[in-house]
């Protein structure tokens, strides 16, 4: 009720189903630099509270907030159990059902959760049972712990699911305690694999969403996007890849229901700026721009440009390019300045320097081709023009900068780290 009061349009209830017992110490997190919970892992199971308590609360909520999308998440085993629990949540006023086929810890060991999500045949059978039994809309929630998300996606669609949601958590170990050698979260000196979520999993979720929305047989099924959503930008990105609703859990666990304020304000601002009235005006707009690699324009050419006025001289771009990319950035030889420069003939336009640069807008990628040329690997293949020997002149590497390997030691300016410290 607090969530609805804060502005959320719907809520998916903590999964109800088979009786469980939960462990103490349930969550672990990945902290990156000064960011807490960049990734989050749990080994908590579905609700361990009595079904009757959950149903009573659900009745209260749906009565007080009749226009909100209160969804019952369910996970049981046999067809009889499915029929029974669906009846009970419908009676409690649930507006929809979400099938939890994702939980990758604990429940899967009992043949539920991700054990179903990883087995399209079983998934299809269960969705069919549910569709037979349910009088309210059914969302099938998928597990990302699978090679091709379209397999369970298609199974759900073939069983006539009303909608799909994804992703559930990713099987994970977030860390090991260096004193007890136990994985986090630690339960009496031991641990188990958990389910990973939070901002760290967003890229995985976006990719799987795209795969479903580009699949001919799945794309017309509504999808609710899940996975690391915390800000309005995340929301817009999921919608641009075709999601028409989004679900948020980790961000609420971190910041509380109030986090929706920022999402709502940002989303509205975005829509006003772009002139959209509903999310359907832009849902899926990025999908045509996500192509197989073979269809990318090989003639497109960008090179890095360093804005000297903004450069602070950290020289991270230099060392990143020199040690981790294409040796296309030079430092002034005389050491009078720390502002690096791009060696254009070596720059392949990889973006690395612009990604490591700590200053906003200091390194930009500038287009160098005139935009008139277009050629893809696929076109080359069809025209029988692809390079086909190791040293083929048509391959990209020809004409690349070929340094003498030993030259690497004559770094343009030597890193003096620790040098004076070790003088003896």
């Amino acid at each position: 009720m607090k969530a609805y009061d804060a502005g959320w349009g719907g809520a998916v209830w903590k999964t109800l189903g088979m009786p469980t017992i939960n462990v103490s110490s349930r969550y672990g997190s990945t902290n990156y630099r000064n960011t807490r919970m960049a990734g989050f892992s749990n080994i908590e199971l579905i609700s361990d509270r009595p079904l009757e308590d959950n149903l009573r609360e659900m009745r209260e909520v749906t009565k007080r907030f009749p226009d909100h999308a209160t969804i019952a998440s369910l996970m049981v085993d046999t067809q009889a159990e499915w029929n029974d629990i669906i009846k009970q949540v419908e009676d409690a006023g649930a507006k929809g059902i979400e099938l939890n086929f994702g939980c990758p810890h604990g429940m899967c060991e009992r043949g539920m959760g991700s054990a179903v999500g990883q087995d399209p045949v079983a998934l299809k059978a269960i969705v069919e049972w549910v569709m037979d039994a349910a009088n309210i809309p059914v969302i099938t929630k998928l597990s990302p712990n699978i090679s091709h998300i379209t397999d369970p996606g298609l199974a759900a669609v073939e069983a006539n699911t009303d909608a799909i949601s994804l992703i559930n958590t990713v099987k994970s170990i977030v860390g090991i305690d260096l004193d007890t050698y136990a994985p986090y979260p630690v339960v009496d000196g031991k641990g188990s694999n958990g389910g990973y979520c939070g901002p760290a999993v967003k890229p995985i979720a976006l990719h799987m969403l795209k795969d479903l929305k580009q699949h001919e047989l799945i794309k017309d099924t509504p999808i609710s996007g899940i996975g690391g959503i915390e800000t309005w930008r995340d929301v817009v990105e999921f919608i641009l890849l075709g999601a028409t609703s989004v679900q948020v859990c980790t961000a609420v666990m971190h910041y509380g229901f109030g986090i929706v304020r920022e999402m709502e304000a940002g989303l509205i601002q975005f829509m006003e700026d772009k002139g959209y009235n509903t999310i359907y005006d832009f849902a899926g707009k990025a999908l045509p721009n996500v192509l197989p690699w073979k269809d990318l324009n090989l003639k497109y050419d960008v090179k890095a440009k360093i804005n000297e006025d903004k450069c602070v001289g950290c020289d991270l771009c230099y060392i990143a390019c020199d040690d981790g990319a294409h040796q296309a950035i030079a430092l002034p030889l005389d050491g009078t300045s720390r502002i690096p420069s791009i060696i254009e003939e070596n720059c392949v336009g990889c973006n690395l320097c612009s990604l490591v640069c700590p200053v906003e807008g200091c390194i930009t990628m500038e287009r160098k081709d005139d935009g008139t040329q277009h050629e893809t690997w696929d076109e080359l293949t069809l025209a029988d023009q692809i390079p086909n020997t190791w040293n083929d002149d048509r391959s990209g590497g020809k004409g690349h900068y070929v340094p003498v390997p030993s030259k690497a030691f004559d770094s343009i300016r030597k890193d003096k780290s620790g040098e004076r410290a070790n003088q003896k």
């Binding site: 630099r33 000064n34 903004k310 450069c311 602070v312 001289g313 950290c314 020289d315 991270l316 230099y318 060392i319 720390r338 700590p358 200053v359 300016r413 030597k414 890193d415 003096k416 780290s417 620790g418 040098e419 004076r420 410290a421 070790n422 003088q423 003896k424």
Partner: protein, 431 residues
């Protein structure tokens, strides 16, 4: 109007001399450390006179390895903990932090350094062990930062080390001459004890080396001698009336303050003569001791003062008033000081009433001491001449460092000199 009430007890003193760079807690260090970019060939590292691998030690702090960070720091600078708070970081490492190029506050390198080293000092974590004994002995004259750094380095190289100190405490000006709001006596002494307890060099206190006999004794017993004797007392300015009660040298005043805290006698109206960092300290300290008026009188313009800008700002914030183009002509008073006659900016003579005058006009050099040593070349400003690669003096058995060779610089310079000289001694004795 005085900013500070006269401190009556230690509690008041601590309040008036609150640490400018207080110790960070784990959370603060974690967030402060996360800001470091790990620059390539980092400017902060190049700005440090001892060349500490700053990006490395900050990364170590941030990854929960403060002990490793302390090791990195001590690997370059044996006075790492004190330097973290007493170094003028704003013009050294932090002043060169790349963030400042975009008007973003720099990483708090000094406090992070102090945090990491304080951790091992407080826990007593053993980080060092003496090198295998090579049977050779080195004498060090002066237990200041140069001498301590030299001793530590020599011990790791296997030398027996005896330090001879004229005063009763180690650390030289770090304990006797630095403003109390930069570091506490305890913190300075704790670091020396931390190092001494692991590296086992001997310090002989209250044992001045001041005669030809002392020198020849050292020469006969030791294979090499390091001179870390610093500078002497405040030089006489030859101002008429300079001998009156209430006229004191800045170095002597600060030593009194460091040792006696709230019991130090400070006048009600104080004039500080000078424009260097020590003058700023003395003025600031007088104000914090409750003087109702403190005037900093400098003979030239504000721009020409030798002090760092931030030190002058600190003095101003304590309530000090600056007076420029003010040359002292005569100190007035009958036995005790009652005023000072100065020329003012317009060239007129004026008298400023005061009951205390602090001369921060430079320390005398140890010229008399140097004359005891045969073949020791001294330059025109009475500094010991050394080979900058080894810190060896013209008398090959003698090495030197710190204020004695640079005429008065930072603790960090002395720490570097001591380490450099130790390696110079090692090479000399293994030729």
């Amino acid at each position: 109007m005085a900013e500070y009430k006269r401190p009556k007890n230690e509690e008041d003193f601590k309040q008036n001399f609150k640490q400018k760079k207080p110790l960070m807690n784990d959370t603060e260090a974690y967030y402060a450390g996360s800001k470091c970019l790990f620059c390539y060939d980092a400017p902060c590292m190049n700005a440090c006179p001892t060349g500490i691998d700053i990006p490395l030690f900050i990364k170590q702090i941030h990854t929960g390895n403060a002990e490793g960070a302390a090791k990195t720091i001590y690997n370059s600078n044996w006075i790492g903990n004190a330097c973290g708070t007493v170094c003028p970081t704003g013009v050294l490492c932090e002043g060169s932090c790349v963030y400042t190029e975009q008007d973003v506050l720099p990483v708090e390198i000094g406090r992070l350094q102090n945090y990491a080293t304080k951790k091992v000092i407080d826990s007593g974590k053993v980080l060092f062990k003496p090198g295998e004994s090579n049977g050779k002995k080195v004498a060090i004259v002066g237990a200041g930062p140069a001498g301590i750094a030299c001793a530590c380095e020599l011990r790791t190289l296997g030398y027996q080390v005896d330090i001879f100190e004229a005063k009763s405490k180690p650390s030289g000006l770090t304990v006797y001459g630095i403003a109390p709001y930069k570091i506490t006596n305890e913190e300075v002494l704790d670091e020396v004890e931390y190092l001494r307890s692991q590296l086992h060099f001997n310090i002989h206190y209250d044992l001045p080396i001041d005669s030809k006999g002392d020198i020849s004794d050292l020469e006969s017993k030791y294979d090499a001698i390091f001179l870390g004797v610093g500078l002497g007392e405040t030089a006489n300015r030859n101002i008429p009336g300079e001998d009156k009660d209430g006229v004191i040298g800045a170095v002597e005043f600060i030593e009194d303050l460091r040792m006696n805290h709230s019991n130090t006698k400070v006048g009600d109206r104080v004039v500080v003569l000078g424009g260097g960092n020590t003058a700023m300290d003395a003025a600031s300290e007088s104000a914090r001791m409750g003087a109702s008026k403190v005037i900093l009188a400098y003979r030239s313009s504000k721009e020409k003062m030798g002090a760092y800008g931030f030190e002058y700002d600190l003095a101003l914030s304590a309530g000090v008033e600056g007076m420029f183009h003010a040359s002292p002509l005569e100190i007035m008073g009958n036995g005790s000081v009652t005023g000072i006659k100065l020329t003012n900016e317009e060239g007129n003579e004026i008298v400023v009433d005061c009951d205390m005058i602090i001369k921060a006009t430079g320390q005398a050099k140890q010229g008399n001491f140097y004359s005891l040593i045969d073949g020791l070349n001294i330059d025109s400003s009475t500094k010991i001449e050394v080979n900058p690669e080894t810190n060896q003096t013209s008398n090959p058995k003698y090495f030197a460092g710190g204020d004695a060779i640079n005429g008065g610089a930072e603790v960090v310079n002395a720490a570097y000199d001591g380490k450099l000289a130790a390696n110079g001694i090692h090479n000399y004795l293994n030729q």
